[in-house]
């Protein structure tokens, strides 16, 4: 995502996946993920998020392009590489007739962990994800929340360097979701994470990087700040309080301030668009002075279009509007 000498955790180059010559799931995706990155993988349904994750895990083989994980090519037989990855699928399923303990023991053995390593670790994980009271219950009878907690434990049993979680908050209640986000925040200090999510507020809260897929194509990759600032820079909303005449007068004065591109007043809400290249603090200072001179109280000030959700929606919409132009600039990723 940015140039660096450190070993990249994930590197994809012109990654393309076409299923049975009938469905293009992923198209020419070049992406790098550095150690310590918490990447939010965004995109509408069918954008290719899960396909991308499955290619990174070696569950699918690319039709073209390549995937490297920890500097080595990922293949269906790259078991050593997968031992350093913790994965949660969208809808985790477990074999029948297993308890949390036997399931985690099974997963531990799949990672090749010796008994001395996996037994204490699974005990700690069962306790950590609060399944101690259900440790003898059949996992196939678990509620969605318990399934998610067990899936988290399974993804951590090998102490992975890279976590790939496909919609980890899917189907969780508010409390469980909050707990999951806190866990992700804690893990983000020591692990590299790729989170696929429909919930943009989750991504906003825990991720420091974002990649946006639309119809199998990577339309953005960069920091979350870049995503937020990309679409509407220097766009503000102010909630005002004061005499209506004073407000009208102030607005007319603000319109004449240099670098103010657009001013819209809707009742007591003032929407301001400044020139993108201007020194916004200087212009805002002039605007505050104007408001003060007219005895207008500033009740609220916020940036517009700086929310991840809005930036994301604008990005996808803009990409769709480009039509045939996409042929000439297939990768507009930052």
């Amino acid at each position: 995502m940015t140039g660096s000498d450190t070993t990249l955790v994930v590197e994809t180059e012109r990654l393309t996946k076409i299923y049975g010559n009938s469905h293009i799931a992923l198209n020419d995706v070049t992406l790098t993920i550095e150690p310590g990155c918490v990447l939010g993988l965004l995109g509408p349904n069918g954008a290719g998020k899960t396909t991308f994750l499955r290619l990174v895990l070696g569950l699918h083989r690319p039709t073209a392009g390549r995937v490297s994980v920890f500097g080595k090519p990922m293949t269906p037989n790259a078991a050593l590489l997968r031992r350093r990855i913790g994965y949660i699928p969208t809808n985790p399923q477990f074999p029948r007739g297993m308890t949390p303990i036997t399931y985690l023991d099974y997963i531990g053995r799949l990672f090749g962990l010796s008994r001395d390593v996996r037994k204490p670790r699974l005990a700690a994980l069962v306790r950590a994800v609060d399944l101690l009271g259900h440790s003898s219950a059949d996992v196939s009878q678990f509620s969605p929340g318990m399934v998610s907690r067990l899936a988290v434990a399974a993804s951590l049993i090998n102490e992975p360097d890279l976590l790939i979680w496909d919609e980890p908050t899917h189907g969780l209640d508010i409390e469980a979701r909050r707990s999951m986000l806190e866990l992700i925040k804690s893990l983000s200090h020591v692990k590299t994470l790729i989170l696929s999510s429909h919930n943009l507020s989750d991504v906003d809260e825990v991720c420091n990087h974002a990649a946006v897929l639309s119809q199998g194509q990577l339309i953005f990759s960069g920091t979350l700040q870049e995503l937020k600032g990309r679409i509407r820079k220097n766009h503000y909303e102010m909630d005002l309080e004061g005499d209506q005449k004073g407000v009208t007068k102030a607005v007319s004065q603000i319109k004449s301030v240099a670098d103010v591109k657009q001013v819209t007043l809707r009742q007591r809400r003032l929407e301001l668009v400044l020139n993108e290249q201007c020194n916004n603090s200087g212009v805002l200072s002039q605007i505050f002075n104007t408001l003060s001179d007219n005895r207008i109280t500033l009740v609220g000030l916020r940036t517009v279009g700086q929310q991840t959700e809005q930036a994301y929606l604008d990005l996808v919409e803009k990409e769709e509007q480009r039509g045939f132009a996409r042929i000439f600039q297939p990768a507009e990723a930052a």
């Binding site: 269906p76 031992r83 969208t90 997963i107 053995r109 799949l110 990672f111 090749g112």
Partner: protein, 257 residues
């Protein structure tokens, strides 16, 4: 952001993933309703056949050697069992495709280990079950219907059929690994096996066929067999098993799950 440790961990056991899938699949196969149906049906058929023949033997005085009864029963059970064995083997890999396979194949196991574990598990279950059931049947026949069975002949007969079963298991598991749907795999294999069996039985006497092996069973059970001929069947079956499993292994290692 700190750079997390990127060294390859060295605390892993190489064969543990294989053993994990093998032991889990063994347990699941024993619980599988197809497997249980196979056992129950075979036992009921064997007991019914044995009682019927024993009744004729005792009441009507119709004395036929145990080797003839055993081979008749073997023939019936083999043909009937094949249908269920195909279901049991094709579903080994095919039925787990999708999210369940995600949970396993996304961990530290290679496709080779997974496929071999599934193949070995199904082969162990089917061959052991057949060997145990046929041993009990032969002992019962031996004592109830005439004592013309030879230990060496019985051993060779069970060994030969076991090798044929290993070939069937290998083809079944390979088919399950190649096809996208277990239903398609089962249907294709049923048609191929029964069709091939019928076609081979129509070939001239000099060509080998499973039908001819079963027809020779009464002689083999009495100890009247040619070691070379049986050896060829054993080696031929193992060769088919090897080729099928190799094809399945390569195909599975290259496909999406």
């Amino acid at each position: 952001m700190e750079n997390p440790a990127l060294e390859v961990h060295s605390r892993y056991s190489r064969f543990l993933p294989y053993l994990a899938v093998l032991s889990t699949d063994l347990r699941q196969t024993f619980r599988n309703w197809v497997y249980r149906l196979w056992i129950v049906a075979t036992i009921l058929v064997a007991i019914g056949f044995l009682l019927y023949r024993f009744g004729l033997h005792q009441e009507a005085g119709m004395v036929r050697p145990a080797s003839v009864h055993s081979s008749e029963l073997f023939r019936g059970i083999a043909l009937g069992s094949l249908a269920l064995i195909v279901v049991l083997t094709v579903s080994a890999v095919a039925s787990e495709r999708g999210t369940l396979a995600d949970s396993v194949l996304s961990r530290g196991i290679s496709r080779y280990q997974y496929f071999m574990a599934k193949l070995h598990s199904r082969a162990i279950v089917i061959v052991l079950t057949f060997a145990v059931m046929s041993s009990f049947m032969l002992v019962a026949f031996h004592f109830l219907l005439g004592e013309d069975l030879s230990l060496a002949g019985v051993t060779w007969a069970v060994l030969t059929i076991s090798c044929l079963l290993i070939a069937v298991v290998s083809v079944g598991v390979a088919m399950g690994a190649i096809t996208n749907s277990s239903v398609v795999g089962i249907a294709v294999l049923w048609i191929a096996m029964y069709g091939l069996g019928i076609l081979m039985s129509l070939l001239p006497q000099t060509f080998p066929s499973p039908e001819k092996v079963i027809a020779r069973l009464p002689f083999v059970l009495r100890g009247e067999y040619e070691l070379n001929s049986l050896g060829e069947w054993v080696l031929g079956s193992l060769f088919v098993a090897f080729v099928a499993s190799t094809i399945g292994l390569i195909a599975f290692a290259r496909r999406d799950v």
